[in-house]
Symmetry: C2
Subunit: 175 residues, 2 copies
């Protein structure tokens, strides 16, 4: 799928998924696309865990309340380390966001659906920390988001956005 | 260019650029790709200014010290608003990072080179604020990054990264 078409086709899908497994080779393509994203001062602060074992998926979804993506046959959990880029500056949020966007595009290009789920797991109930314990994640990493992966069985729709031309201008602020 | 190949081919280019202008239609494709990125709670916090007027580029580069991307025939300046997504939570950093990644991939797919320049303009000398004043950007927006755009005249190299397989595992943390 061509890059520009993939970007235009990417959707945030919150419905039910087909149970068919995602082949490991495709999960590896998605993981590697994420890890090829740029990172501030090349600190490579993002790490990933792909989950396709139904028993582990069930353990994770038992703590993800309210449920989301619970019928997807795979998920990728996004881990970050708050590594200093220079002086007191960090770019780990930018780093994992770019990695997630690369993965969402690759998921779309491979014909799967997904959704960037972050606020749900990093809010005050700290669901991400419970997921990290289930996965044996060391203390210095933080689980900040996950992406369910599979084929949508309901209609996936593009988000409604402001007209794009109302959000850019040329050579000076004029929008 | 296919999505997965584009992701693998994207480079951070810091050298000199060919002076040939980037056609407006291609700049619009890049801007729209950025604005199609997802945003937390669909708050669409990112806005963009494309600069291709040589006089405006010269004004901007006069404040970008030390210089970077100063020979590029175009640049895109990235603006954000710290809009609350819900309660006290914001996702504007994730939002603009995803928009930047979409633009870097589109730039690559169209055969151009670029680099994500952020720390350079948001550091304590607040170069981004000076750029924003030149562009007439209102107070509620913050200029957080820019992307030079053009064709590299020197060799563009992939960043050296840790082996990708050292940054992911399946079903539990094992890396």
């Amino acid at each position: 799928m061509r890059t520009i078409e993939t970007i235009a086709a990417r959707k945030s899908y919150r419905g039910k998924y087909d149970a068919a497994p995602v082949p490991r080779e495709e999960l590896v393509q998605i993981l590697e696309a994420g890890l090829r994203a740029p990172s501030g001062c090349n600190k490579q602060t993002t790490s990933l865990i792909a989950v396709d074992d139904p028993a582990v998926l069930a353990q994770l979804h038992a703590v993800i309340q309210p449920p989301i993506g619970e019928t997807a046959p795979a998920m990728i959990c996004v881990l970050t380390r708050r590594i200093i880029a220079y002086r007191d500056r960090t770019y780990y949020v930018q780093d994992y966001a770019a990695a997630i966007e690369n993965m969402l595009l690759t998921i779309t290009a491979l014909g799967y659906d997904s959704c960037w789920i972050e606020g749900h797991v990093t809010d005050v109930d700290r669901i991400g920390d419970q997921m990290a314990r289930i996965l044996g994640v060391p203390e210095e990493y933080e689980l900040v988001a996950f992406l369910p992966i599979g084929k949508a069985v309901e209609e996936a729709k593009l988000a409604k956005k402001l007209p794009l031309e109302s959000r850019y201008s040329f050579n000076r602020f004029d929008m």
